[in-house]
């Protein structure tokens, strides 16, 4: 069977015929790509829109302005401004009196209802104010107080007047009072001073994310401190120093597998080892950070190894050829060149750790903790766990707070990534 070569004219004709088909294939592929990117952007825009639309109101809340009579005798009976003295004082009563002047409740029942309009943190607020500025004593000063979460939801329109009174969380009397306050221009909608500076609280109007935010920072700090040096060292050892044999191959395969292990498994391991065997306390950022470090290690190792492998061998040859020892070659040349890649991997790992909830639930970081942690051994929680907890609460106001917390988490994440990109651009060198 002897096939002759086509003559050039025939070949050209065949090529021409197929060209149309090939072009169509090209443009179809382009179209699919554009469609996919478009769809993804739509989802992203929708996601951000809903989060910001729902979350922005979470940063604001309703306040009522009252004329408070700062009576020293009653607020600070011992006169030494100590917590004890202020606590035994009558601040709440003074605030209630200021409120009663405005809305004039009649009888015990109405007074009891009127008291509930203002958030229960009112005495704490008065105590804080006089501590900061003792000159307030003896004056009558306008002070803003957060409204109770039910009143807040009513003002936002989530609780409607049309609903029959017995199905409503705000009764007719209270609505009457609010209308009165509104008519006098006493109610205002302001940026919340609880959301960013407050901690976990059972009262939604006083709940804030400061505790969780600080907990997240502490946890990530521990995680970075453990995972980065350990991960980079492992990568360097496996890539540059270890002999390629069955054992290193086995280790490699297992590290790659670890990257795919569900994070909750690391939580169970942390619970068993750190808390069970070593007897560390629950709910502390130190244990949380260690668990997350275990989880991010494979990510850091894998990306660091890729970065090391991308360093051209000619650089290694050059250093070795001039008489640099292995260690000098690694530290003077390989690591500086691989650093941008290593940092990228680390930041990806950290971002993963920042958003992780499941393993932290396992080690008890889901506990209700009011105090902001001061160190890595103080009990605390983290942002995603706080979001998880708030999303579970019944009060309407927590819906906005949850979205607000998500916005804070996203901002944290985006700024971390931005920092990573900046760092990489700065360290990147061409060769």
């Amino acid at each position: 069977m002897s096939k002759k070569f086509l003559n050039p004219a025939d070949a050209t004709a065949i090529v021409k015929k197929s060209i149309k088909k090939r072009r169509a294939k090209d443009s179809r592929l382009k179209l699919y790509g554009r469609f996919a990117v478009g769809l993804a952007s739509c989802f992203l825009i929708f996601l951000f829109y809903t989060i910001f639309e729902k979350g922005t109101p979470g940063f604001f809340q309703y306040y009522v302005t009252l004329d408070v009579n700062f009576d020293k005798e009653r607020i600070d009976p011992k006169g030494d401004l100590s917590d004890n003295s202020l606590f035994s004082g009558d601040a709440s009563k003074i605030v209630n009196e200021a409120l009663f002047i405005l809305i004039e409740p009649k009888g015990r029942k109405e007074k009891k209802e009127a008291k509930k309009i203002i958030s229960s943190g009112k005495d704490v607020r008065i105590a804080k104010m006089v501590k900061q500025n003792p000159n307030l004593f003896g004056t009558v000063t306008k002070v803003k107080f957060a409204l109770d979460d039910d009143i807040d939801s009513f003002l936002r329109g989530y609780i409607k007047r049309e609903t029959p009174e017995n199905e409503r969380r705000v009764n007719d009397n209270v609505i009457k009072f609010i209308d009165k306050l509104n008519a006098e221009g006493r109610i205002s909608y302001n940026f919340s001073d609880y959301i960013l500076s407050g901690s976990a609280s059972g009262n939604p109007e006083m709940a804030g994310i400061k505790g969780a935010f600080v907990g997240s920072i502490l946890t990530l700090f521990v995680c970075l401190l453990i995972a980065f040096p350990l991960g980079v060292a492992t990568a360097i050892y496996l890539e540059e120093i270890a002999k390629k044999n069955k054992i290193t191959e086995f280790i490699e395969v297992n590290i790659n597998n670890l990257a795919a292990v569900p994070s909750v498994v690391f939580g169970i391991m942390g619970l068993a080892i750190f808390i069970g065997i070593f007897g560390m306390p629950r709910s502390i950022p130190l244990v949380g950070g260690m668990v997350l470090a275990l989880m991010t290690l494979p990510t850091i190792i894998i990306s660091s190894r890729a970065a090391i492998r991308a360093v051209p061998p000619s650089v290694r040859d050059a250093a070795l050829g001039i008489g640099a020892s292995k260690l000098q070659t690694i530290f003077h040349h390989v690591i500086p060149l691989a650093m941008p890649g290593m940092l990228t991997g680390t930041i990806i790992g950290m971002a993963q750790a920042l958003g992780e909830t499941a393993p932290l639930l396992m080690i008890g970081m889901v506990a209700f903790i009011v105090d902001v942690p001061n160190s890595v051994v103080d009990p605390g929680t983290v942002l995603p766990v706080q979001i998880f907890m708030w999303a579970d609460f019944a009060e309407r106001m927590f819906v906005q707070k949850t979205s607000a917390a998500i916005i804070v988490l996203l901002t944290f994440l985006i700024s971390m990534n931005a920092f990573a990109i900046y760092l990489r651009k700065k360290l990147e060198r061409r060769w």
Partner: protein, 272 residues
Amino acid sequence: MNLKNDELTKSINTVGDVFVKDARIKARNVNVFYAEKKAIDEVTIDIGNKEVISFIGPSGCGKSTFLRCFNRMNDTIDICRVEGSITLDEENIYDKNVDVVPLRARIGMVFQKPNPFPKSIFDNVAYGPRIHGLADNKSHLENIVEMSLKRAGLWNEVNDRLISPGTGLSGGQQQRLCIARAIAVSPEVILMDEPCSALDPIATAKIEELIHELGNDYSIVIVTHSMQQAARVSKRTAYFHLGKLIEVGKTKDIFTRPQHNQTEAYISGKIG
């Protein structure tokens, strides 16, 4: 052939004079294996003091592998194994007690592709003296860098931009920078692995001229694909074929009166 001055040598299949009087490096019955594959087969040769010798041969004949034995760069390849003995001034460089770091300071190397560090021109040349602690102070270091760049014929081109990156130079300049880097640590022998194969003819001419000059002070072993280059720069030439050293002799003789028929075939372009 004067076999008597060396007991190690079992037999030599090489044509020509493998031994020289004032040898710095003596390779005796060197075998190199990549895993099970034999890449170098019983090679015996001397490298004389202040001598420029070129290794020629077709691709894959093992000339680069053999070159990398002299400064133990083959150590970096896990599966590579070297047998036989190579001595530098009568000291076996494959002895267990020999540290490769000072060895590589004594035997410098220039690679096929110019490979300056992604650092400044100054730091490129200063790196060797710095890690070996050759300079007493900053001005001494600057002096070494200047001398090295001058020896490499690069000083006039770069003296006003020593802080700019070495990777920003042209290919030929980069290669001369690599030569400056190698001579900055005052080596005794310089190994060159096809130093001009990535360069244009003008840059090549400059490097060849430089090799010629450096030959007055250093022993230079150069691996090359270009027979003209071997003829231009070296006094002695060794022809390798399939891991065997076929013929060694004065460059003039190898190119005009090759004794082995394989050498002749290669010289005349029949193999390679």
